[in-house]
Point group: C2
Chain length 146, copies 2
């Protein structure tokens, strides 16, 4: 098990190319915002972050980029904090794990092989061809418990 790392901007170009997509500044902005914010963010959070950095990005564009990124597995949504919030990053096997503290709101990413395997077994048993799977654990983090 290990805490996940965020992908470098440099590899974005490659990832996009693999899917026949263009490497544009707005896309780099969005990825960078998600990397730096280090926690689930709303489209608006992303736009704000870009603005704060002296850049500029249209809200509609943010929505569309998120949609694209979701499609190619670069980002995804969270069950815990409503509508269009995002988690941060892609995992090798399509498995995403999160711990979300309902007290301080922070989210920690994790990866666990055994859990991943269990999910794949469930899918198999129910004749389901899985592409990605998500685990989200809600509760109280160590800091907040103290």
């Amino acid at each position: 098990m290990g805490i996940s790392n965020f992908p470098m901007i440099t590899s974005l170009r490659t990832t996009l190319k693999e899917h026949g997509l263009k490497d544009t500044q707005p896309r780099r902005f969005v990825l960078q915002a998600l990397e730096k914010l280090k926690k689930p963010a709303s489209p608006y959070d992303i736009q704000k972050w870009v603005d704060a950095k002296g850049g500029s990005i249209n809200a509609v564009t943010v929505y569309r980029i998120i949609e694209t990124f979701m499609r190619i597995g670069l980002v995804h949504r969270h069950p815990c904090d409503g509508h269009f919030s995002l988690c941060s990053m892609p995992h090798k096997k399509g498995h995403h794990g999160f711990l979300h503290c309902t007290s301080c709101g922070k989210t920690q990413e994790f990866h666990d092989e055994q859990l991943c395997k269990a999910e794949e077994r469930v899918a198999r048993t129910l004749k389901f061809r899985s592409s990605t799977h998500v685990s989200e654990i809600l509760g109280t983090c160590a800091a907040c418990a103290a």
Copy 2:
């Protein structure tokens, strides 16, 4: 492993009482809608369902009831279909499992002990006091694959 069942309206009264909440018609409506729809529903879906059954419920009330139900663990949100969509039902141990078909949009609920255990282990390892955990598997169901 087994597919989950939905709780009876009759037990709602008890659950509510345990949390010091009142047993009202709108609350029964919402629960019944989620039971009968048998898949994640938006607040609007719920209102429509109630209307269709000849009942009536205010949209704001639906939002507030959802909020309350989430708080006491009766329902929760989905990572796969946007904003305020809901899954349906409570699980004994706070573990919720879902298979969501990205082709037909249907969601199937499941419960798996091993997976549940794995999630609890992860939480323990990371000094996290978990209350609920969710697994969502995205992919293609048997029917759509054929």
